[in-house]
């Protein structure tokens, strides 16, 4: 999608009161909830929310982080009980006190935070509470394994070993197991909360194939996503949520109109303009660096430049970023920071003054933030040495630095001493970036920082990246969203199998070109481009 400047410039936001799309013709409403409210502490997650979905339709739920989508899905899946309101299934009011209540009604859910048991096998997870029984009514483990193998094969999954422990699977494979488990119950209503957040393109193609098949069989599929392309690709109707309320349901709505409804304000063109490149001054130079998963990568990143790194997941991006940050061993090659050869044995080396690297990782929950600690503590964690005197924290200085950074990044928060875990995903990401900015790095390695972040926050993060580049920071940017890379980078390196397969320079970088360069096989690339860039 290109920035819709024409839309952004239109004087009136679309009228949320325009006629609601009714259920598709001849299709029976299966889920109908109204007046749902739910509060956590003082926060209203659902506020008189309603939703209606029919058999044989794919219904997308969109909204910013914290709009109440996940809470609604949990209420429908029996994971939490709403404080008020009614849920009707096939016209009958129901109480969903626990997941089995939903299961009995044919409602199965893929929750955003997966519900797999890590130290049990794929087979045990897929067939939990319906394991094949053998002698004396005891579980027959061999038959359980065979049944799981058949199940996976039936869904066209050949690469997941039913005997493997969940803990040993990649995030994407876990997501697939969770999806297969829900679909294998032949649901009448399938709820998918951010099912694609950890999938790569080819897996999204697979999931959408499954969703279309279910729709053909008359299943009602309700899903949430932050990726507009996916929504447009597959949803029959789109319901917009804001602040825990239903804003509108539409058969057709384009992204900029939806964004206005989701945010309640107008977002200017999604992608900001790239700052001009200053005279080239190398900040980070890799010469044939290699390590686990990385096979001889060379590039030069200049001050003030955004260098995009693209390609399909699992082709060495993550390893390259960890290697550049000293978190993974470099087995060959040379690394130069600001013209000086450096040897990085640990992230500590990478953060040293003369090097000045910072890595913002993708999984903010496990790789960076201390969720139970305050926003202030999280922000100042990387500069403790600078704000202590004789080992004692200088509180006022800490507070001032944290306050300034939170304001600069526009972190929406109840206060600096609130726990980071209470913030929405996008704001957590800002805190993590803020921590690294306080360390005053000169080179930023940003690894998929906008994944799972809502549109408005994405826009803010994009502007932040541009500001940082304009102020002379060198930025290496990996994103699983090719569209994002195409718009935010001065140059893009496409990685395939641990090497750089292509390099492109702005202007004229397109998402299609990035995806095409990432895969070799042309037939496959066409299928992928259809999903990634409709």
């Amino acid at each position: 999608m290109t920035p819709r400047d024409d839309r952004a410039a239109s004087p009136h936001p679309p009228d949320p009161g325009r006629p609601r799309a009714d259920a598709p013709d001849g299709k029976a409403t299966v889920v109908d909830c109204s007046g749902l409210s739910k509060s956590f502490g003082g926060v209203r997650a659902l506020d008189d929310a309603s939703l209606s979905a029919s058999l044989g339709e794919v219904h997308a739920l969109v909204g910013e982080n914290g709009a109440g989508k996940s809470t609604l899905i949990k209420a429908l899946g029996g994971r939490l009980r709403p404080d008020a309101g009614t849920i009707r299934v096939n016209g009958n009011p129901v109480t969903l006190a626990a997941p089995p209540d939903a299961h009995r009604l044919g409602i199965w859910t893929v929750f955003q935070e997966l519900t797999l048991l890590p130290w049990l096998s794929v087979a045990e997870n897929l067939l939990i509470r319906r394991e094949p029984r053998g002698r004396m009514g005891l579980i027959d483990r061999r038959r359980t394994e065979r049944r799981a193998e058949e199940l996976l094969a039936g869904f066209g999954i050949a690469h997941i070993d039913p005997l493997a422990l969940i803990e040993d699977l990649s995030l994407a494979a876990r997501q697939i197991v969770e999806i297969v488990r829900a679909i294998s119950h032949d649901p009448e209503v399938l709820l998918l909360d951010e099912p694609t957040s950890s999938l790569v393109e080819r897996e999204v193609v697979w999931l959408f194939g499954q969703i279309r098949r279910l729709r053909g069989h008359g299943t009602c599929v309700i899903f949430t996503s932050h990726r507009w392309n996916e929504i447009r690709d597959i949803a029959d109707r789109i319901t917009v949520f804001r602040g825990g309320r239903h804003v509108g349901t539409f058969r057709e709505i384009d992204q900029s109109d939806a964004v206005v409804l989701m945010t309640g304000r107008r977002v200017e063109a999604l992608y900001p303009t790239l700052p001009k490149l200053p005279a080239p001054l190398p900040a980070l130079e890799a010469r044939a660096v290699a390590g686990r998963g990385v096979g001889g990568v060379s590039f030069t990143l200049h001050a003030g430049e955004v260098l995009g790194v693209g390609g399909l997941a699992g082709h060495g991006h993550r390893e390259l970023f960890l290697l550049l940050f000293g978190a993974q061993r470099m087995t060959a090659g040379t690394l130069l920071a600001h013209g000086q050869t450096v040897r990085l044995h640990s992230p500590r080396d990478a953060m040293r003054r003369g090097v000045g690297l910072a890595l913002v990782p993708e999984d903010r929950k496990t790789e960076g933030l201390l969720l139970a600690m305050s926003i202030r503590d999280n922000l100042t964690l990387s500069i403790l040495r600078r704000i202590t005197r004789f080992g004692v924290l200088r509180k006022p200085r800490e507070r001032r630095l944290a306050q300034d950074m939170a304001a600069r990044l526009r972190v929406r928060m109840p206060g600096l001493s609130a726990p980071v875990g209470a913030l929405s995903g996008g704001n957590q990401q800002k805190v993590l970036i803020g921590r690294w900015l306080l360390a005053e790095p000169r080179v930023l390695l940003l690894y998929d920082v906008t994944r799972g972040v809502d549109v408005a926050t994405k826009h803010e993060l994009y502007e932040l990246v541009m500001q940082l580049a304009a102020s002379g920071h060198a930025i290496l940017l990996y994103s699983s969203d090719a569209e994002e890379l195409a718009h935010l980078s001065h140059r893009v390196l496409v990685m395939r199998e641990g090497r750089i397969a292509a390099e492109m320079a702005a202007p004229g970088i397109t998402a299609e070109a990035i995806v095409a360069a990432a895969v070799r096989d042309t037939a496959e690339s066409e299928a992928l481009i259809k999903v990634a860039v409709p």
């Binding site: 994971r79 048991l117 005891l138």
Partner: protein, 330 residues
């Protein structure tokens, strides 16, 4: 959708099973090692290898710890801990000494009463933890004292009487009957692991919230775990009554910590979800072997506790290192 890994050779089944039961395998290895060391030291001291008599006495003396270890491990698997194991042993041991009748029916009735009291103790723990939403460590620390207190009330002085026939069945000194009980424990667990409740124990220990989302009745499973723990602790109390032919309401006091040691040596993860009570059986036998080894090494009994601790640290470091190595190799 599997272009990168389609058709890749799968790891064989045994390799998966070994990986998933690494704790159990290591505990078995540790037991084998400790038996070899014990036999060597025994031979050096006695100029002969230990025989049937040594086997019988060792097993009879270790059975209570084996049972306490099983009791503890079932709760640990659910990510809990049962500090009241020692208190339940005190109480059931004291009760056994005054309630076992002389007739076969009397012995059976007395035994069932003792087991029922153990189950009741576990039920109280489980209900407080599952419905009272209290920390297992605090609940069972409190009930440990409570059960110890009741035990003293039941049997104020060591004594009472255990029929000789009872001892002959449970703690026969003429042959290693306890081997049968060990096999029964293994058989029990092999079956139990293949029931919905058995899977539920692991599910709750893996991730209680995910287990709940999968339709596992988390609270009932927790309660069942503590009840089972109480029953196994009660069998430990019965065994001790049988071996000593009398009761002592303080005899179980050391068993809380020793059962945790057995669980750790048995490769059961203290954070739940991984391991097996069979491992705890091995762990209990290993700690018995350590005591035997110390005895035959003619180490001053004053230092026994010191060396037991030392061996525990070494064993845990060893198994931890090996399992990390195994995971990396996998």
């Amino acid at each position: 959708m599997s272009a990168t890994t389609a058709g890749a050779a799968r790891r064989p089944r045994w390799s998966h099973l070994l990986g998933q039961n690494a704790g159990l395998a290591l505990a078995a290895g540790l037991l084998a090692l400790s038996i070899v060391v014990y036999c060597t030291i025994y031979y050096l001291a006695q100029r002969r290898f230990p025989g049937g008599f040594e086997l019988t006495t060792t097993l009879n003396n270790t059975m209570p710890l084996v049972l306490a270890g099983v009791a503890q491990s079932i709760v640990v698997l659910t990510r809990g801990i049962d500090l009241s194991v020692g208190g339940v042993i005190d109480l059931t041991n004291g009760l056994a000494a005054i309630s076992l009748g002389d007739s076969a029916a009397g012995m059976l009735a007395g035994s069932l009463l003792v087991l029922a009291v153990g189950a009741l103790c576990g039920l109280l723990n489980g209900v407080l933890i599952a419905y009272g939403r209290l920390q297992p460590i605090i609940v069972t620390l409190a009930t440990l004292s409570i059960y110890q207190g009741i035990a003293i009330r039941v049997l104020p002085e060591p004594g009472g009487e255990v029929p000789a026939a009872y001892t002959a069945v449970l703690a026969n000194t003429r042959g290693p009957v306890s081997l049968v009980y060990l096999l029964l424990i293994v058989a029990f667990w092999a079956c139990f692991r293949r029931t919905a409740l058995g899977v539920g124990l692991y599910a709750v220990g893996n991730d209680a919230s995910a287990a709940q989302a999968n339709g596992v009745a988390v609270r009932r499973t927790q309660i069942a775990a503590y009840v089972l723990s109480g029953v196994f602790a009660a069998t430990a109390g019965l065994f001790m009554a049988a071996t000593s032919t009398a009761g002592d309401a303080t005899t179980g006091n050391g068993y809380t910590l020793r059962s945790i040691v057995a669980v750790v040596l048995g490769g059961v993860n203290l954070f739940g979800g991984r391991g097996s009570p069979v491992g705890a059986v091995f762990g209990a036998l290993v700690s018995a072997m350590i005591v035997n080894i110390l005895f035959f090494s003619q180490i001053d009994p004053l230092y026994q506790s010191f060396f037991e601790g030392l061996f525990l640290v070494i064993a845990v470091l060893l198994t931890g290192g090996i399992s990390r190595f195994m995971r990396r190799g996998a």
